[in-house]
């Protein structure tokens, strides 16, 4: 296996609306930031991969127009996933493993403000048995939350404490959409209150990956991807045990997460109750720093929020604030699909 690292990360400020910006307008500043941080030109990049969904803004082929911001003409080596950018990063990591590229630009964006994201996300569900009922994303998360409460794994006060801790941490995150003291609010779908749910908004993020000595040349402390894996649950909600996430546990195992302690964890848990599931699945110690960025409860640009978890964990390693971090991304209803990466910084004496 080649050693591959995250060498640069940038994200936009996450905002409720960005009416004046098209997707490419939203994206370009973060692309320029990661290129600037590594002194790379777009034409130096070996592979480009992005994650987004045209359904969010209702703008067909927005991902091809977003490519304008990369300088994709004359044609570059490029790919796209209709998934969170964390999966675009996975594809780019595989590309670097093949040896066909030494650097990769990964980006993701989500513009939820033009539509109703709760309704939009119903269109990813089983179209035969589930989609025709239009169960929105909050409703499905609420079914999972109630199952956790019934099983005695949490209660509404504990969920509110997760929301409070996340948004208090986000006070130090200049990009956060929601930070500081946020009221628990009314039930959106009981047992979840507005405070248990992520803010809806627009945002983008970009990462540069590099292999081996290229990574060392581009970054003083690369965040080495020691393992990365993604797994999925059975697609019918009624088949799953909603209080557990065996796919997260398996992905973490395959990524080597349990081979040593981690000091930082970035979990992609858009709903407070999902953090409960993930902590149980990963067996996290109470002492580990979870979501020092505030996590998806502070900013949840759909399709970018998972990539941001990897970026936040990597940025902490680059700044010397972490030596071994776990980053997680999710996709689909009730933590349907989960990706886990283990990131490490090299010791100062190495």
């Amino acid at each position: 296996m080649r050693d591959v690292a995250i060498v640069a990360f940038a994200q936009t400020d996450h905002l409720r609306r960005t009416d004046e910006l098209s997707e490419v307008d939203l994206l370009m500043p973060v692309l320029h930031q990661v290129l600037g941080a590594t002194s790379l030109k777009a034409s130096d990049i070996g592979f480009t991969c992005s994650g987004s969904s045209d359904y969010l803004a209702g703008r067909a082929f927005s991902f091809t127009m977003a490519l304008d911001g990369v300088g994709a003409h004359p044609p570059i080596s490029e790919s796209h996933v209709e998934m969170d950018g964390a999966w675009a990063l996975y594809e780019a990591w595989v590309k670097l493993q093949t040896g066909e590229a030494d650097t990769a630009l990964v980006y993701a964006y989500g513009k939820s403000s033009p539509g109703e994201v709760r309704d939009v996300l119903t269109r990813q569900l089983d179209p035969y048995y589930v989609g025709p009922l239009w169960p929105d994303s909050v409703a499905l998360a609420a079914l999972q939350a109630q199952a956790l409460i019934d099983a005695g794994h949490t209660d509404e006060a504990a969920l509110a404490a997760i929301a409070d801790r996340s948004r208090a941490a986000a006070a130090d995150n200049p990009h956060a959409q929601l930070s500081g003291s946020v009221p628990a609010g009314d039930y959106l779908v009981q047992p979840l209150r507005t405070g248990d749910c992520p803010p809806v908004g627009d945002g983008a993020a970009a990462v540069i990956l590099a292999a081996g000595d290229t990574a060392r040349a581009l970054c003083t402390r690369p965040a080495w991807i020691r393992g990365i894996d993604h797994r999925i649950e059975a697609h019918s909600l009624g088949v799953r045990d909603l209080t557990d996430s065996p796919s997260t546990r398996l992905a973490a195992e395959r990524a080597g997460a349990f081979e040593g302690p981690v000091d930082t964890v970035e979990l992609h848990a858009p709903f407070t109750s999902q953090e409960v599931v993930l902590r149980r699945a990963l067996g996290l110690d109470a002492g580990v720093s979870v979501n020092p960025s505030g996590g998806a409860l502070a900013a949840n640009p759909v399709m970018a929020a998972g990539l941001i978890r990897l970026g936040e964990a990597a940025a902490r390693i680059q700044r010397g604030e972490s030596d071994r971090a776990l980053a997680h991304a999710t996709s689909g209803p009730c933590l349907q699909q989960n990706l886990v990466a283990v990131l490490e910084g090299e010791a100062a004496h190495a």
């Binding site: 300088g71 033009p114 009922l133 239009w134 109630q146 039930y187 059975a234 909600l237």
Partner: protein, 313 residues
């Protein structure tokens, strides 16, 4: 007019999907007020039934009937139903394990309030009066105090089975095209065409999308182009488009407006279709309240030299 335009946008499509043998039996069963599950090799009955075992991926075909009564395994109270959801009044989302089933079905429960719902409560199906072979043939669940229903064998065969479903999907947006396209559309409303110049390679893009696809940088300098332009290439259309009141054959062309480094496309009129040629000089014709030129017509100028537009093909 505001700097950034916005307009309602509805994206709507009736998805037509064919059904596999298990899905067909299940949905036909609902039409006949019969709920079918499928049995896995280890004896578990999956409801709703799927065609492949979620654990082993084995093909599943052994159908069995389960009861229309069951037990809530988890629930969530929805105080504000959304447009396409099954009930218009506040309701509970529920996962229900039907009597005889080993897994739970997602649906909704009609109940007076969250205080009337709990995990473990007994419910039964309320059938929709109009049934077509769809998951919505179950109108909802309702509280039920009666006996536990008994599963019974079923071969899954019905007269006139449902073989497909049509699932309409509508999403509503407020479309905002962003700064560059707003400026372009605003100029069009004044019958002007405005592009944007790349600060790096100096190319002028029309219509502008806000970025230069070669340099990957934002374009901001607005440049008025045209109104005249040159046909760079064209085709002759012989197929009449639906809802389009234009006689065929007609010519559709790429037109490089003077000052633009990218050709846009439009219809050519005012000249017999078989006389249109590369290099033809044209100008826009605006009609009525149209937001775009209706078509382009010859200016009468001499044709442009190939060398002038060859980079714009």
């Amino acid at each position: 007019m505001p700097d950034v335009l916005s307009a309602p946008l509805v994206v709507e499509f009736p998805f037509t999907r064919s059904l596999g043998p298990v899905q067909s039996a299940f949905l036909t069963g609902l039409r006949e007020r019969t709920v079918l599950g499928v049995r896995t090799a280890d004896g578990r009955v999956l409801v709703p039934p799927v065609e492949y075992d979620p654990v082993t991926a084995e093909e599943l075909r052994e159908l069995t009937e389960v009861a229309a009564t069951g037990t809530v395994t988890t629930w969530a109270w929805n105080p504000a139903p959304r447009r396409d959801q099954p009930l218009a009044t506040p309701f509970a989302w529920v996962l229900v394990k039907l009597d005889g089933a080993g897994t739970a079905l997602l649906h909704v429960l009609d109940a007076p309030g969250p205080g009337a719902v709990h995990t473990g409560m007994r419910v039964r199906i309320r059938w929709s009066p109009e049934r077509t072979g769809a998951i919505t043939d179950i109108a909802c669940f309702e509280p039920y105090e009666g006996e536990v229903g008994q599963p019974s064998p079923h071969n899954g065969e019905f007269a006139d089975p449902v073989t497909g479903v049509v699932t309409p999907a509508r999403l509503d947006y407020t479309y905002t095209p962003g700064r560059a396209q707003s400026a372009y559309l605003k100029a069009l409303s004044e019958q002007r065409t405005v592009g944007e110049r790349c600060p790096s390679c100096r190319k002028v893009y029309v219509p502008p999308r806000g970025a230069c696809p070669t340099c990957g940088v934002a374009t901001a300098e607005q440049v008025e182009v045209g109104p005249r332009g040159t046909v760079t290439t064209y085709c002759i259309v012989n197929i009449k488009a639906k809802n389009l009141d234009i006689e065929v054959p007609y010519v559709y062309a790429h037109i490089a407006l003077d000052g633009a480094d990218l050709a846009l496309h439009g219809r050519i009129g005012g000249i017999p279709y078989d006389q249109v040629r590369m290099g033809l000089r044209v100008e826009p014709v605006w009609t009525g309240e149209g937001r775009h030129p209706d078509h382009y017509r010859p200016t009468g100028e001499p044709d442009a030299d190939y060398d002038v537009y060859k980079e714009l093909l």
